[in-house]
Amino acid sequence: MTTADIYKTDPSPVAPHGGIMRRLNVGTGIIAGIVLAVVANVLAKKLADGHTHEPDVRAVFTMFGWAVGFLLGMGAFTGPFRWLVGRDLTHADELFLAGKDQGVGRYFRFTTDHKVVGIQYLVLVMVMLGAGGSMAMLIRTDLISPNSGFLGPQTYNSLVGLHGLTMILATIIMVTGPFGNFVVPLMIGARDMAFPRLNALSFWLLVAMLPILYSAAFLGGIPMGWVGYTPIADQGPPGVDAYMMAILVFAVSTAVAGMNITTTIVTMRARGMTWTRTPIFVYGVLASVVLALPAFPFFMAAELLLFVDRVMGGGFYVPNRGGQPWLYQNLFWLMGHPEVYVILIPAVTALMELTAVFARKPLFSFRIAVLSIIAIVGLSATVWAHHMFASGWAPDLNGPFMLTTEMISIPTGGLFLVILGTIWRGRIWTAFPMMCTYAMLWNFIIGGITGIYLSDVPLDYQLHGSMFVTAHFHYTLMGAGLTGAMGALGYWFPKMTGRMLGNTPAFVSFWLVQIGFNVTFLGMFMVGLQGQPRRVVHYDASFHTGNTISTLGAYCIGIGMLVLLYDVISSWRHGDLAPMNPWGAKTLEWTVPNPIPLENFAVLPVVTEDAYGYGEEPVPESEPEPVPASAGAEADVPGAPA
């Protein structure tokens, strides 16, 4: 709700122009952040002067000061404070926060409108992917020859970690952020998210996180890769503190966003949108955030324990103080494997959604799709220790974890069935989003099958920690996940920006990225099988061929991504104006005009059938409501003979 409708029952007589909150924006946020960071730094110096952990204490205080100050300066705490003193935000305040009549400025404020937040997320994700991609280019450049000496080992190790972390964080939010925020409320026929202020908070927390994360590069780097294994993290320079604080902030953001999206989907679906009529993408987003909600606190706890170790000299991960590095690994992978599906499920369901549209067919076996998602969510909490087969932790449990891990391939196969069944006999329109579905089918089958190799314990003993693993998870997270997100971008771009995504550059980019991708990571499979470990700054000359292939492929991806970037920017600025429903889709988001009004729907829709009625006789109106009843089954839906 953005509207303070409820407040109509209890009007608060506060002046409509009052309040400092109307003057706050990113600028004040940055100023307050820097001020508080400096104050905290001075305070920390006083507190920990000469102490063993002084650099860590100062780093942590400064970062914490920055985060709190930034949010304070953005006005994130205005709502809770006003609540505390019993002066709730008025209707006018809420409308101001929703960005009413503010033009472009609302993208730089603590704006609660879900469409603004969605666009902000989209830009943020592109920035993060750009940063992570640039690091990938540097890494691959270093690996172009066995001992290139382009980057020193210190820089290289840090880059590997920062690339990994940037990409993981970006891919976690790449679908649920932009599309989950922008599209899902429209898709379920809601006026906004359940908790608009928390929505804005989840985004601005991420903005507060980025400087913290990249400050690691200036604080000695991170020596331990994105997984942040201890005890090497205990040993690292203050850059590790940046890693740790960034994750703490990110985990809060995820918890807030996950709770918000879940509540929205559970409680705010339009009248008549029963669970069987809910589009599959909504299920995907729901599954993703529901999975993240209990998973990320484990990561947060892991980093908090590291915080105690590094800042206060605790012994959680230090063996000679009774600590144990396996504890970190358990906590980390309790989050880490669910997180893979947090990334994957929304991307794949976005592709399912658009496959039904571009094949002009109902989703094949909706029930299997839903059951598969549920099964994956359930099973993914039980497979974490397959990342620890080679760690020597509990060898007796290897068998059971092998079982659960291989079982997860059954529901994953169900997802393939749904997409293939939808394509079958469809009227396939191979526009850019649909091509992404095909690319996903190719990539994800490779990623999935190599995943089965890694679930097999004896094979994992050989392949764990090698380039093979790197190639495998890039095939799933990038080949399936990122490709899905690109498909989603192409599909929802007209609704989000009001303009069509340029076709030719998108095609060029698609082929460059997909061919480059397969070249890169097939090369990596090759050197992995030959025996090259992960995360090495130089390598044995016998791995030269595969690495050179990988590097050339990576450049190809880089160029393709830049072409897509150009396409997005230029189309956004002066692409063709998009019609209301360019793809002829039946979900609710296509029933609102471009640009979408503040409260989305003039009249809340009432749903009488699901959104996949392609080629079917429309269900006769049973609802006596005066509302245009449909899940988008408007007169403009094609193939629906009157």
Partner: protein, 226 residues
């Protein structure tokens, strides 16, 4: 057509330039190498052309190393000096002399209190040849590893005894009188190697391998045979 191409090409060029600039900023700028002094005009043996000498120091701080005035960013860090990148010719006899100014204590892996890979398996400590030193009083080690590339393997490890804590400060210096450690080994074909100290002497909270041990230019360096 031309117009349509300009946009993507400019984007790609800008992106490429961005990555290039980033790469140049991060490109490892190796500090100047310690050149080996080539002395012998007559080859030491039939297969070797040169006998070269390298002199290094180990300091308990960064004041005297390559880190610039006042020890650079981390004046308290222990360091090798005068530089950490060493260039020597291929197929030569290399003699390294290290003036060790720093104290120390027990080493975690006593194997590195022994001398490995030198001529005769010995080093001289203040003129006396030894094969190992007291593992309870190790200052540092100078340990050379082969990089994982197709080049001749080279493994040399020489322990440096600790200067006693109660040693008097030498006249005209900030440090006590150093312990001189000398050892020789033969290089093979050309290659790039790395060396480091295997005695945990860094700062850092855990295992003392942080700080100078994990940062280029303090307790580790490159060894190039050309």
């Amino acid at each position: 057509m031309g117009k349509k191409l300009i946009g993507p090409i400019v984007t790609v060029l800008l992106g490429g330039a961005f990555v290039t600039v980033l790469g140049l900023l991060l490109h490892q700028s190796l500090s100047p190498a310690v050149a080996a002094r080539v002395t012998a005009a007559t080859p030491p043996s039939a297969t070797e052309q040169h006998h070269v000498y390298v002199h290094l120091d180990t300091y308990p701080d960064s004041m005297a190393g390559e880190h610039g005035k006042d020890g650079g960013a981390e004046p308290d860090w222990v360091s090798y000096g005068p530089g950490t990148n060493i260039n020597v010719p291929a197929h030569s006899l290399v003699t390294i002399t290290i003036s060790q100014y720093d104290g120390g204590e027990a080493i975690t892996n006593p194997w590195f209190a022994k001398v490995h890979g030198t001529v005769g398996g010995t080093e001289t400590v203040d003129g006396k040849p030894v094969t190992q030193i007291d593992p309870e009083a190790v200052g540092h080690t100078w340990t050379l590893h082969a990089a994982p590339t197709a080049q001749d393997p080279l493994f040399v490890s020489a322990p440096l005894p600790a200067v006693p804590d109660d040693a008097p400060i030498a006249a005209g210096s900030d440090y006590p009188k150093p312990i001189e450690v000398t050892f020789s080994f033969h290089t093979k074909g050309p290659g790039k190697y790395i060396w480091n100290c295997e005695f945990p002497c860094g700062d850092g909270y855990y295992a003392k391998f942080g700080g100078p041990m994990s940062t280029r230019g303090y307790m580790s360096g490159t060894f190039t045979v050309s």
